[in-house]
Symmetry: C2
Subunit: 213 residues, 2 copies
């Protein structure tokens, strides 16, 4: 099975979306980028990995945060120069990295607004993986090793952060059907099943290309 497609994967925390993406990439024999984007963006830009890791999927959240980070746009005397908040600068650098990687050929990219960043590229399929909260809490405990008393909170708070990041940097809404080409409840299919269904989607959409509904 071969493909021409760049797959972007948004995901609820605990849904196994990352694992779905990895399995998909392995089945198709194409590169997979998740946390890998941090090291590559750092290499591309010459900035430290730590900077990218700290800003990873976080929106420029508040004036307080920016002040603490020392990057709140201040009036700069006669020049009137204002500096872009650090997270926004890192987002732009990472966007360039994502565009470069996607231009090299089919791959799987997890999170980081990749669907929005690649909105003008051909052959991109945007996927969202979600699951019922109970299933995600179970996975957070059993697979990620999060303490039982904290798992639900981590699921909800991480999703909130991801939604904030996505909605801040795009003009779309995280978690809405119309933002994606395909959304799946991973609790219904499991990791392998999700990857299998995405491959079937890819086959059908390739055959349908250029035709009306």
């Amino acid at each position: 099975m071969s493909t021409e497609t760049v797959f972007t994967i948004g995901r609820q925390f605990g849904s196994g979306g990352r694992k779905v993406g990895k399995t998909l990439a392995e089945k198709l024999g194409i590169p997979f980028y998740d946390k890998e984007l941090i090291a590559i963006s750092a290499r591309d830009s010459g900035l430290s990995e730590e900077l990218f890791a700290n800003a990873d999927e976080k929106a420029t959240s508040s004036i307080f945060y920016s002040l603490v980070m020392g990057n709140y746009p201040m009036a700069s005397g006669a020049l009137g120069v204002t500096e872009m908040p650090l997270n926004d600068q890192l987002f732009l650098i990472q966007s360039k990295t994502i565009k470069r990687l996607a231009s090299l050929g089919p791959c799987v990219i997890v999170g980081r607004c990749a669907d929005y960043i690649l909105r003008e590229q051909e052959n991109v399929t945007n996927i969202f993986i979600h699951a019922k909260l109970a299933d995600r809490v179970k996975r957070a405990i059993d697979v990620y090793g999060i303490a039982a008393g904290k798992a639900e909170d981590v699921c909800l708070k991480t999703d909130k952060q991801r939604a904030n990041f996505y909605n801040y940097y795009s003009d779309r809404k995280w978690g809405m059907c119309r933002t994606y080409d395909l959304s799946l409840d991973s609790g219904m299919l499991g990791i392998e099943g999700c990857a299998d269904l995405i491959i079937h989607f890819d086959k059908l959409s390739t055959a349908h290309k250029g035709l009306p509904i």
Copy 2:
């Protein structure tokens, strides 16, 4: 290909969701209910089809509407009896019809909060069909015969009405990924492709039943 599943289909106007459901039902050899629910609910209740047709997928929208319809809950003297708005009564009757039909075996039900109404039934798969606005406008003109100057407006207003109806009668959000098990952009796959993918989903989810993510 046989199935044990009741499929509910939510859909954006112009996405061909109704046609996807009909094609799916034909491929699987199971009953299909869309507008058919109006006649069946009327027969079940002894009320007129016209009443159900007028209320079809409309929420009890405003005090003004209820006053016009003569069913705004008024204080009724010493008894203090208030009457439920007509649309709410019709919704309850139609809900009973939907539960009865779904209890008879696999079928496809379009719209009408069926996913929410059947939330306690086993073997229900909830699907949402959407598409890019340009694709839906094209279909509204070419297939439904809506005037070119009006098609976009009809798409947007009908979706607003469907969202209002759904969000009023359920505790879920219309058009959010997490409301459904599977959401699909019909512009990517076409009608046949969507039906084909849903059948593949059904096969995979039946095999995965009871397992964790």
